[in-house]
């Protein structure tokens, strides 16, 4: 059995609202979540916009500090904001963002972009820096000629490969991937996904993979967690998740996915027609957050927020119906 690398316990992140009619209230972006990731695993964190999945990623990487709860990485507490974390954690957890166009400074060359993390962490090979950088580029299937290019002359896929190379440069044990392929075409997405899988094998990487695309998770996650309104609704190993989903929201999401073959239709067995929209994380409904859209909601769903239960090993569901 692999070791646990990341453990999130009771994590909360509230943002105060400083302007407008809702001044003084809080955006409850994450409202108490727990999960763990093991070495070499991919945890897929799925949800709609406003579910808190990206905030979770930003908390893990340290762009925000936690409001409450604890994030443990390799046994050490890293709940605080990145600037207060010891340098070696910044080396050990890396991040790839959604839009490769905005994560690469347009005024800096590929060489400068790749050199930065190495020189910060004192890992730059003084004798042959170029060779080291070229090795990095080659690891993500880019050739040496890219070294002196600027991001603007790269295609979307190439930029994302470069972002992966940067994340890889410090030899991390974990990479947080925030929708790394959602702004790319499927033909490019396929390339990136295969590369990520290969790199995971080679370096025994753990991925925290944020996405809204369940079909994608099916093909690369070890474990899938589904978030709704700042909370995890269901979390299970990938096989269980797709063959025996229990939470009505999971079933609703699955039945909303447009698919391209009859074999896939089988996985949409629930046929719950989606209705309504995700409520604002400022005015969270009383009781279960999903009660405004749940076709099976009963009285107690409007009174109490359900607790997470383990219905079979590794399969957790947070629903009154179970």
């Amino acid at each position: 059995m692999n070791k646990t690398i990341l453990e999130v316990k009771g994590l909360k992140k509230y943002f105060p609202i400083s302007k407008g009619a809702q001044k003084g209230m809080f955006v409850k972006a994450i409202d108490g979540i727990d999960f763990t990731t093991k070495e070499g695993e991919t945890l897929g964190l799925v949800g709609e916009s406003g579910s808190g999945k990206s905030t979770t990623a930003y908390n893990v990487i340290g762009m925000y500090g936690a409001t409450a709860g604890k994030i443990t990485f390799k046994g050490e507490d890293i709940s605080q904001i990145s600037s207060k974390r010891p340098l070696n954690f910044k080396k050990d957890i890396q991040m790839v963002f959604q839009d490769p166009g905005t994560t690469l400074n347009p005024q800096r060359s590929v060489r400068q972009i790749l050199t930065l993390p190495l020189s910060i962490h004192g890992m730059l090979d003084k004798n042959d820096p170029e060779g080291q950088l070229i090795q990095l580029l080659e690891a993500v299937e880019l050739s040496a000629e890219y070294l002196y290019k600027y991001p603007s002359s790269l295609g979307g896929g190439e930029r994302q490969m470069l972002a992966v190379a940067r994340a890889l440069s410090t030899n991390p044990s974990m990479i947080v991937l925030d929708e790394p392929t959602s702004s790319l075409d499927v033909s490019v997405q396929a390339k990136i996904i295969n590369m990520l899988l290969r790199l995971q094998q080679q370096h025994n990487l753990s991925y925290l993979f944020i996405t809204h695309d369940l079909s994608l998770m099916r093909n690369l996650a070890t474990k899938v967690a589904i978030m709704y309104l700042g909370k995890i609704a269901e979390i299970a190993p990938v096989e269980t998740f797709f063959t025996a989903p229990r939470h009505p929201y999971t079933q609703m999401l699955l039945s909303a996915i447009p698919v391209i073959s009859e074999e896939e239709e089988i996985f949409k067995q629930a046929k719950i027609t989606p209705k309504g929209e995700i409520p604002s994380p400022v005015n969270v409904p009383k009781g279960c957050g999903f009660n405004t859209r749940c076709p099976f909601a009963k009285e107690e769903c409007f009174i109490d927020d359900p607790l997470m239960q383990e219905i079979e090993p590794e399969h957790f569901v947070r629903c009154h119906l179970i």
Binding site: I61, G62, M63, S82, S83, L87, K90, M95, F97, D99, T102, T103, L104, N105, P106, Q107, R108, L116, P117, I120, H121, D128, E130, G131, I134, A144, E145, L147, Y148, K149, S152, R166, T170
Partner: protein, 295 residues
């Protein structure tokens, strides 16, 4: 890997970049006209002693016999009431004008820019609030009035009028850079650098500042024109370079007394001001096109 080969690649890329930038710049013919005008003004100003037909006329030269002659083949722009060649004096005044523009920008751009960077990056912090409130106060007056007020208090010299313009000009750069920095600091590439643990210096000057340079250069080019114009306005009311040293503003205001009969005394220096400002304006537009990513 062969080091030399790499360097060649860089150089070629840079050369390509320059070529493309020039192409974009020259796409609008007016920008090229602007550039030519600016270069011409600079050459005439710098080499005035060689180029000007009557280099001695720039000082306290008096020749009443030749006074107030309309433009002719000897004096292309005529002579003033002291019999001095107006063209030579305009060439010399270009010097003062360019000195003024460059001198002011050299002070206000780094000063205003760094304040803007600091205020923008630490927005929400007291230091940022302080800087921006002070900036607001300076911006509450039209630059010309503030410059007039300051230079009226000081002794009228070129240096003092430059100082006065600096006082009224820096906040515009603070505001420009502040505005850009507040957006840029939230860019993911800045966040990425922060997450990697890069130093504040690196983030301010390597990640944020290079992305401000486009609008900054555009504003600087345009401002060369405006600063010169403001300087001319100051010397127009006598708060700049003192006679007998020629400056465009003084020449216009002196000449205005002899309108309309001796129109050339005021009109040519006035045209000279317009030409300089126009040159920098056209060039600024070209630079804006050049740095815009649109194709």
């Amino acid at each position: 890997m062969n080091n030399k080969q790499e360097k060649v690649v860089t150089k070629r890329d840079k050369y390509e970049n320059i070529k493309q930038s020039w192409y974009k710049f020259s796409l609008n013919k007016m920008s090229v006209v602007g550039l030519v005008v600016v270069c011409l003004v600079a050459i005439l100003g710098v080499f005035e002693p060689i180029i000007a037909p009557f280099p001695t006329h720039v000082g306290a030269y008096v020749n009443f016999k030749e006074a107030s002659i309309p433009p002719n083949t000897t004096y292309w722009m005529g002579t003033d009431v002291f019999g001095r060649d107006i063209m030579s004096r305009i060439f010399y005044a270009f010097r003062g004008a360019l000195t003024m523009g460059i001198g002011v920008l050299v002070v206000v751009v780094p000063l205003g820019g760094i304040l803007g960077l600091i205020a923008g990056y630490w927005k929400g912090n007291w230091i940022s609030t302080l800087i921006m409130r002070v900036t607001d106060v300076f911006l509450a007056l039209p630059p010309l009035i503030l410059a007039l007020a300051v230079s009226a208090i000081l002794r009228p010299t070129l240096l003092n009028s430059m100082m006065a313009i600096c006082v009224s000009w820096w906040p515009w750069y603070t505001r420009l850079i502040y505005g850009m920095t507040t957006t840029l600091r939230n860019e993911l590439y800045v966040k990425s650098a922060e997450l990697l643990g890069a130093s504040k210096g690196h983030i301010l000057f390597r990640e944020i500042l290079p992305n401000c340079l486009g609008p900054l250069f555009t504003k600087m080019t345009l401002d060369m024109g405006w600063v010169i114009l403001t300087g001319a306005s100051l010397s127009f009311v006598g708060l700049g370079e003192q006679p007998p040293i020629p400056s465009l503003g003084t020449m216009v205001s002196d000449g205005a007394k002899f309108l309309p009969a001796q129109w050339w005394i005021a009109i040519f220096p006035a045209l000279a001001i317009m030409v300089i400002v126009l040159g920098f304006n056209l060039m600024g537009d070209g630079i804006k096109d050049m740095l815009s990513s649109e194709e």
